[in-house]
Structures are given as C-alpha cells and as structure tokens.
C-alpha cells in the first residue's frame, strides 16, 4: 500500500469527532507549531516541502505565503477555498465530510504561519451538510482550547468562520470568492493588485484550497524535508484524486504523485480498470477545465514514456499532446461515450457559470454551447468545427479571469484530438443520433512525434 498522509485514518469509526481524531494523533501539528516554532519557521517548512496548490493552478504554497504583504497594524487573512465546483472534482467534499478536523487543524497552523487572527472557510452553498459538519468541528476544537483566545497558552488568538457561498462556480476563483465573502456579487477582480497585497476588506490575504491546507498538517508533523521525499521530482507529496466516469471503482483516492496513470486506472488498489469490460477511450485528467486526451496519449507521452500522475508528466507535450493535473478530477470515458456530447455538456456548464463581466467569455461561451448543441443534434456544418476553434481562441487569454481559458480548452482539445468524431457527427448526422462513434483509433499505438505535432 502506498503511503497515505491525509486519509490514513479515514476509516476509523468516529474520526469526524474531536476525541477520536485527537486520540489518533490529531492536533499534534498545532501543538508543535504554536509551542516550538515561529510563524516564519512554519512558512520555511512548507517551502521545503515543495507543496504546490491543490486547487488547480499548482502554485508553490510556501512561495505564495512568503509573498503575503505584512504592513504594520493591518489585519491579514487566510481564506480556505472550499467552493469545489469543478465538474469531476469532489475530493474536498470527501475530506470535509469524513475528516473535518484535518482541515481545522491545517487552518490553525496555516493561520499561525501567516499571522492571521481571523480566518474563513468559504464553502460552496450546496454543501449544507459539510457546512454543519465544519461548524460542529470548529465548536469542538474551540471547546478544547484549539481556537479562540490564547490557544494552548501560546498567546496566539484565532477565530475561524465558515461562510456558505451562493453556489456559483465562479466564486471558486479566488478574487470572486473574496468579493462574495465580503457580501458582494461574485465577480472576479481585475489583477493586479493580487490578494497577497489587497484581498479581503483590502487587506493582505492568502487563499488556499482545502487539500493544500490539510497537507500542511503532515508537513509540520513530519517536517518539510520528509514530505518532499514523497512524490516525484517537483511534484512532491500525495494528491487526492476524484476518480469518476466508466471505472470499476470510482471514488476519492490518495495517491503518491508520480504514480503511473496506467496503474491508477487498471490496478486493483485504485480504480480496478474500466467498468463492464469496456475499453478506455479518453480521459479528462484534472477536472473539466483541462484538455481531454485520447486513451493512447493519457497512458503514454508522445515520446513513448509512461504518463505519470504528476504536474510535470501530465503537462508533458504542452497542449498539443499533453494536459494538466489541475484539481485532480479524473474522468474516464469508455468506448461507448460520445466526445461531442461531452464537449457540449462542458460548454453548457461554462456558459451557465460565466459571470458575464468580460465580453469574450460572456458572449463566446454561449456561442460555443449553441454551435455544439447543433453538432450534437445533427444540425452541424463542417465550417462549425473551425468556427469553434476560432471562437475558443478569441476567448483564451483575453479575459479577466481563467474561467475563459477553462471554457476554451476543453473545446479546443476535443477538436484537436477527436476531430474525426466531430466530422462524423456532421457527415452521418442521422446515425450519430442512434449510435456512437466508438473507440476508433483513439487507443492505437501513438503516431510518430512529427505527425502528431502536425495536427
């Protein structure tokens, strides 16, 4: 069994309660940090660990923390991003449901490191049960002296609040989240200034994903050095993967970064292969925003190396032949799935979730959705395919926040790798309504590097 740093005790009965969690070594990192370390030493430890943000962008957490401005006499805030709404991603919810104290513990240590006296957990509005679970866990921790005034006699005060969101995907974008937290409409802010300089109530703020904050606990317990030994290269530590789609055993898995994709899909320890004896057609490896890859390219990089579950390996080949680790939402498609339909479904999501502030995203997402709807329903034209690519280019890189890119990439990548399936939907529109295109050549051995780049 691979090493588990976050979910080791997930199956212990009652682990969601303070007492059981504490009996299993919970809150040790708070004692260690508050009693024996300075805030800067905690930041250093996180830097050494090589931990990278688990919310999607993979930005080094220690570096982000050290960018936080620290002007005299001005409050600083830590905000935990628990808005998790990326299609295909459900790891944060799992963690908060089953082992809420891990997040609370991480919040205390991280807030201490950043010098925040007030911290927030911004939870997606639909997650009502998790909001109650967290509130209860906070009350328990406070009762035991781990929150509130003068924690463990260290002189450090911390109040932790849970803030329910309204249920908009865009409020997961950190500056939209901050606006929403302040009680405003969740429109992303124009950057700069970045939250590290001006975030919540115009004060310096760090926004981190649930899993990122939870990972601080093992880092402080075992030391950053120890944490950095787990994983592969610059992808250190473990990662929660939300596995869904046509897998024998979908669910949340904690993997050591660097695990081969093939092993993740097919081994009994993880997903146990494709369900119903079908064959793998495609994978979206990091949540709906990242480029989709056909089976051959997800299992191997274009150079014929085994593809690994790590930041570097998944993005090997750039957007031509690679993808991204993103938030770790791993969606597998078997040979019966229709890529056109899925692309339309994703486009529909981004159209619905665009905040509408900037024109390319507001208008372009709707345009793409409508064209894809036509294609899927047998009313497409050949020129629609290039039109989609063109519209996606008009959005990509030209918007205020990365939602525009997130909407453009799935469309562009689906056409890049599955163009013949799109064409088939147009030339055989009647058949396409009744049956699927099937596996086609998508699992074939990889073409030569030069040929692949040409497409």
């Amino acid at each position: 069994m691979a090493r588990k740093l976050l979910l080791e005790n997930i199956n212990v009965p009652g682990i969601h309660t303070f007492d059981v969690y504490r009996q299993h070594g919970g809150y040790r990192s708070v004692e260690k940090a508050l009693k024996t370390m300075t805030p800067d030493a905690v930041v250093e430890e996180v830097k050494t660990s090589g931990l990278r943000g688990r919310g999607g962008a993979g930005f080094p957490t220690g570096m982000k923390w050290s960018f936080l401005a620290k002007p005299e006499g001005i409050e600083r805030y830590l905000v935990c991003n628990a808005d998790e709404s990326e299609p295909g991603t459900f790891k944060d919810r799992y963690l908060m449901t089953h082992i809420p104290h891990l997040l609370i513990e991480g919040m205390i240590v991280s807030s201490f490191a950043l010098g925040a006296k007030t911290s927030y957990i911004y939870v997606r509005g639909e997650m009502m049960p998790q909001i109650r679970i967290l509130e209860r866990a906070i009350a328990e921790a406070k009762n035991a002296g781990f929150l509130g005034k003068n924690i463990l006699g260290s002189g450090y005060d911390l109040e932790l609040y849970v803030q329910p969101g309204g249920g908009a995907y865009i409020c997961g974008e950190e500056t939209a989240l901050i606006e929403s937290l302040e009680g405003k409409r969740g429109n992303p802010r124009i950057k700069p200034p970045f939250p590290a300089i001006s975030g919540v109530w115009a004060c310096p703020t760090v926004v981190n994903n649930v899993e990122t904050i939870a990972a601080v606990v093992p880092i402080i317990n075992d030391g950053g050095e120890e944490y950095s030994k787990v994983g592969n290269g610059r992808s250190t530590g473990t990662k929660l993967i939300s596995a869904s789609g046509n897998l024998n055993k979908p669910g949340v898995y904690e993997i050591e970064l660097g695990l081969p994709v093939e092993e993740f899909i097919y081994s009994e320890e993880y997903c146990g292969g494709i369900a119903n004896g079908k064959r793998l057609k495609a994978v979206v490896a990091g949540g709906s925003s990242v480029p989709i890859l056909p089976a051959n390219l997800i299992l191997k990089t274009i150079n014929g190396q085994p593809r690994l579950m790590s930041y570097e390996s998944l993005s090997d080949g750039g957007f031509q032949t690679g993808s991204m680790l993103g938030s770790g939402g791993f969606i597998a498609f078997d040979e019966d799935q229709c890529i056109v339909r899925n692309t339309w479904n994703f486009a529909r999501f981004y159209h619905h979730e665009s905040c509408g502030q900037c024109s390319p995203c507001r208008e372009g997402t709707g345009w793409m959705e409508k064209v894809l709807h036509n294609l899927e329903n047998g009313h497409g034209k050949m020129s629609d395919i290039d039109l989609l690519v063109d519209v996606s280019k008009k959005i990509e890189g030209n918007t205020i926040c990365p939602l525009g890119d997130a909407a453009a990439w799935p469309v562009a990548s689906a056409i890049r790798h599955f163009r013949d399936e799109f064409e088939w939907h147009i030339t055989n529109s009647k058949t396409a309504m009744e049956q699927n295109y099937g596996l086609a050549k998508y699992a074939d051995p990889l073409p030569k590097l030069e040929e692949a780049i040409q497409n």
Partner: protein, 333 residues
C-alpha cells in the same frame, strides 16, 4: 520631472507619471495609436477591464524586467513601467484579437442602428465600422429584452447593452443610495430596474451620457432626431447643483436635448445635474459659448460612415516613421 517613466507605444515614446495606465499614456500621445475603450471611463473609479476592446501587446515589460507579457493586456487597467514597450495598431495579433472582441460584442447586439437614438454617436458603431467583419457568423437568435422606462426621463433598452458597467459606477459614485445594478449571470446578466432608485437623484441622468451604446437614452430628446442633423453648441448657466457646463443640441431654433460636454473619447468634462439636462431646454436659460468641436473620427462630424483602413499606420506619416522597419517589411509583402 525625473520621477516620470518612459513608455513607448507603437514606436512613439512618451514620459508619463508613474501609475499611469497604458491607455492614458496612449491618450497623451493621441491619434491613431490610442486603443478604443468601451468600458473604461476616466471619471469613474474602478471602471474598465471588462469589454476587452483596449487589449494591447506588451512586447517589453520594463527596463528592469524586459520580458514581454505572456498575454495581451487590457491597456485601461495595466500600469506602465519605465522602459515598457507596447504595440497597439502595429501588432497584427492585437488587431486580430480586437476584431474578435468586436465580433463577439456584436453577436447579441440588435444592429438596429437605423432606429437607434445613439446612432451617429455610438462607440460600438464606430468600432464595428473600423474593425467590422462583413458578415456575422452567428446564426442564432439574438438576446432580446423589453424596453423599460426607468423613471419618466430615461429609457433602458437592455437589448443594446454591452454590460460595460459604466452606468452602475455612475449610480454608485455620482448618486447616493444605490447598491447594485447587474442582475443575473453570464449572458443572462441585465442592468436591473434597481436603477429606478437612482432616478430620484439629481445626477441620475448622467447614466445616459456614459452609456457607450443606445441602451440608456434620454426620453426627453424632443422630436427624436438623428444626431448628425443637430448642431451642438456649448453653453453654461449658473446652476446651484452642478457646474452648469453643457452642450446644447439644436435643430433650428429648438434645443432638442442637453448633454455633458464630451471629449474625443466620449467622456464628459463634468457630470451635469438633471435640472440642466431635462428641465432647461430654452435658449434663454443659457449663456451660449459657441459651437462644440466634435472629434473628426465621429460619424457625427463626417455626416456619413467611413471605413478606416487597417492597419491605420499606412496613412499616418508619424507612425510610418516611428515603425519604419515593420512598415517596410509589411509593404514589401
């Protein structure tokens, strides 16, 4: 002053105060190299960044860090750095992206210019003539809304709105007692009748002047006339509420409407009060200063629509000189 920073836009260098945006630096240079701005409004704090028509390419970040910026940036919300080099109309990438933004702004726009009050002084109209793509590739029904009267003096025709948020900032900053103006999300967003609240305010009429398109219009614009048949005249009066400096729009002897004095970028010099705008439409109310000079690019002054050739640089000796190498290369091809 030695604190000034140097920035070069399309080959022309200018010295500006630190903290100036690329757009404002370009406005100091003036002429063709000024990026179009549909949402930024210098007098409204926080405006800009939304429409993306002002995108430019930063080919050199600064003297200290010469790396180019990886993406096009909104010039209205990006500050200049010393030694920065920017390409606007000399960058095919920028022209292409801007064309894309214009196309996208138009897919849900009704293109009812023949019946629109704004025709002739509409920035979207100007922009689409400059960058327009001949045919639309959008084959779906356009988004439509019912017209609504917000108060008895202002009409909102949401169908034409490009969601630049300017009117929201006006209501936020110029009038009091206002919370928010956009309801809904994405392309279902709309300026809501919340705006009615601002109607009670003396300065609410300014939403008409800031609207770059014909979404907010003056219901008291008498005898609805095409603006190019009207004659703008600057005038002032002693007003207890505002500075009283306005432009009167005449047809014959009649004042058809009153607006703030707009500069070449469509921005008013001063916001005016509703009394000046709606209730004082007799010549005797005003001291006349003289005819208003309207910028030459506007279709109001040319009285007809003209296409500007792109890249504009071909017709401008200063730009040709400043971009000699690029120009020679381009014309050889």
């Amino acid at each position: 002053m030695s604190d000034k920073v140097k920035v070069t836009i399309d080959g022309i260098t200018v010295e500006v105060e630190p903290g100036t945006s690329i757009l404002n630096a370009a406005r100091q240079i003036g002429g063709d190299i000024v990026p179009p701005a549909m949402c930024y409004y210098s007098k409204l704090e926080g405006s800009g960044g939304k429409c993306r028509t002002c995108l430019v390419k930063v080919s050199k970040g600064s003297e200290k860090d010469p790396r180019p910026m990886p993406k096009l940036v909104a010039s209205c919300r990006t500050g200049v750095m010393d030694g920065m080099e920017v390409q606007n109309i000399t960058s095919p990438e920028v022209i292409e992206a801007r064309k894309g933004v214009v196309e996208i702004l138009l897919i849900n726009h009704p293109l009812d210019c023949p019946v629109c009050d704004q025709a002739g002084e509409c920035h979207l109209q100007d922009l689409s003539y400059e960058h327009g793509v001949a045919d639309t590739r959008y084959e779906f029904d356009r988004r439509t809304f019912e017209k609504i009267d917000i108060g008895d003096k202002i009409q909102l025709h949401m169908t034409r709105c490009i969601l630049c948020y300017r009117c929201v900032y006006v209501a936020d900053q110029i009038t009091d007692n206002r919370v928010h103006g956009i309801l809904g999300r994405g392309d279902a967003s709309e300026i809501s009748t919340y705006i009615e609240k601002a109607i009670e305010n003396d300065f609410s009429g300014n939403v008409i002047d800031v609207c770059p398109v014909g979404a907010l219009t003056d219901k008291t614009f008498r005898f609805k006339n095409r603006v190019w048949f009207t004659k703008p005249v600057d005038a002032h009066r002693d007003c207890p509420k505002c500075k009283g400096k306005v432009t009167l729009w005449y047809k014959g002897e009649e004042v058809l409407r009153v607006t703030g004095r707009k500069d070449q970028y469509g921005e008013v010099e001063d916001f005016i009060c509703n009394t000046c705008r709606f209730d004082t439409k007799n010549t005797s109310d005003w001291v006349i200063e003289g005819p208003r000079h309207i910028s030459h690019t506007s279709v109001i002054s040319s009285n007809h629509y003209e296409m500007t050739l792109l890249p504009v640089i071909k017709e401008n000796p200063i730009l040709i000189e400043a971009n000699k190498i690029e120009f020679d290369r381009a014309t050889k091809v």
